[in-house]
Symmetry: C2
Subunit: 342 residues, 2 copies
């Protein structure tokens, strides 16, 4: 909402933390929306207010299943999420869909088109769709999305989908904030066209081959068999859950029920073993530590001279003039001196 050097235009006035909290706990979607806008704001005053709000609703958070969904552009992610979402609301679930799209940094605003991508679902009373607003770093976007998850849970949503468009490191960020990570693949596209980054497949708790309709059914089932075989060769996961491969068709409404049943089975399996809670606890701990790193990085980049030195050092390192170890020592010493003078 405006650059930090200019007085921003505020389209809505800020309420008190109590007012936001009350609205959220009353399941008021308008207030939920405004609260998410608040947590996304980069104004220091908004950040303090946001923190107060999160603290108030924290005891009411956590009661959902958090699902991450990724796949390359063209795999039919929106189509799948819409069909899957409609299934979920039809069986009584309250679904929130959040999107991590680092490319929105360039447009410095929400992807307004998102709602039209999932037209029918966005009109469903039991579904709430929210694109992520801009932030400067992936770390910043991830932080705000985590807080949006907490707000949605406090507002009564019991299934949270976080979708990512598969840019940069966003899958790793999504994986670190969800319980179940679902990978969508195209069947029969040929391997080179998948374009998925290394490591993503091994991160998945489930794989869905999309567009298994009409002429594509055979290819989709072949792909399912191939991936099932491949996953069988993978190492045992920490959760000890065996990732499953399903086929789906949004058009023919195939695989949607099965996808939800797979996720429920995962939840039951990992709750019994204790892994479900352990994973969440580890995720929170990692969020804490990476948040510390993020804030320190922000602190460093506030000091223009230091930020310049870092860029200079990167060039010298690339030229083989200075070793990374020596360069890092100088930067950190500088940083400490700078803070000493404040």
């Amino acid at each position: 909402m405006g650059s930090p050097t200019r007085k921003p235009i505020q389209f809505t006035s800020r309420l008190t933390a109590d007012a936001y909290a009350k609205g959220i706990l009353d399941h008021d979607r308008v207030l939920l929306s405004r609260a998410i806008t608040l947590v996304e704001s980069r104004l220091p005053s908004d950040q303090l207010l946001s923190e107060e709000l999160i603290q108030k609703i924290l005891p009411h958070s956590g009661k959902s299943i958090r699902i991450g969904i990724t796949g390359i552009p063209g795999v039919g992610k929106s189509t799948f999420i819409e069909a899957f979402g409609k299934h979920l609301t039809s069986i009584g679930k309250k679904l929130a869909v959040l999107a991590i799209d680092p490319s929105s940094q360039r447009t410095k605003g929400s992807i307004l088109g998102d709602k039209t991508r999932m037209d029918e679902l966005s009109r469903d009373d039991n579904a709430f769709i929210r694109p992520t607003s801009a932030a400067n770093t992936l770390g910043g976007v991830a932080h705000k999305t985590r807080e949006a998850i907490l707000l949605c849970e406090a507002a009564g949503f019991d299934v949270i989908i976080v979708e990512t468009v598969g840019v940069g490191q966003s899958e790793i960020a999504v994986r670190s904030m969800v319980d179940f990570f679902l990978l969508l693949l195209i069947g029969g596209a040929g391997d080179e066209l998948q374009g998925i980054k290394k490591g993503i497949m091994e991160m998945a708790d489930g794989v869905v081959i999309t567009k298994a309709d009409g002429d594509h059914k055979k290819q989709a089932n072949q792909a399912k068999a191939d991936y099932q075989h491949a996953l069988h060769l993978f190492p045992v996961t920490e959760s000890r859950w065996t990732p499953k491969v399903l086929v789906s068709s949004a058009v023919e409404k195939i695989g949607l029920k099965e996808t939800w049943e797979m996720i429920e089975a995962y939840k039951a399996f990992t709750t019994t073993s204790g892994f479900f809670e352990l994973q969440r606890a580890n995720q929170n701990k990692n969020w804490f530590h990476s948040s510390i790193e993020e804030r320190i990085k922000e602190e460093i980049t506030k000091h223009k001279a230091l930020a310049e030195k870092i860029k200079k050092a990167e060039i010298q390192i690339a030229q083989g003039v200075i070793s990374p170890g020596a360069a890092s020592r100088e930067i950190v010493e500088n940083f400490i001196q700078l803070l000493g003078k404040q």
Copy 2:
């Protein structure tokens, strides 16, 4: 070498940076050893001397192929490395073998047994074997290993093997400092016995099925076919190199020549595309930034009160009493205040 609170016993006196550098550039293995001990030292004075030394030899570094090798205990890593190493020296290569073993942190000293694991190779004039000495964090160990690589290269070694025992996050650390990452697997052991962590398989540029001798040959070849098929389904790598699967037997001397030829083919392929240099440049840049993070973490943990606060916050986060975002803000504000008072 002794804890920082006690005056350490020094078994060897320190030379000047020039003296170490001269010895290394003269390919003096004794001085190379002492130089590696120097970079591993945690004494601040040694760290400054070490930095000076690295700066001097930096222009002479880089002229090697860096190979990371991992596999679970029992796969026959030492046996493979010894046989592979003997092949390399027999074709005129000068080989240095470094080990990342975070468990050595517990013994707070080198793994003296390492040399006897690769008995024959350790007696080879053209091979140099060095276990990693203790450090407090994996980040610390990784940093020192990177510097040891530079020293070995300046000392004339043209193949550097970094081996890891597959504990914790060590594979990721090794991957970030090598050109080629080789994964050793047992053939026909059944998937659950592999015990490899998720993501490692997708990180590999090559896979070698070990112990393909006698009765195991058939299993090994079946495993090779299985993994080749699975790798075919993986996403295209950034390097665009197709990972290869080989079988090997240290006893029957199978697959050693082929492993080297695969690595040479990788080097040729990625040099032509420019990826080889690009990967090294990115690794250096990441080393720089993670080194900054490491140093700041060290700075934080120096302040006992702050380190206590962090532990306390972790407990409160686990109990759901405070959000990670709020906790991290407090910690960073405290840190900045503390530095302001120095």
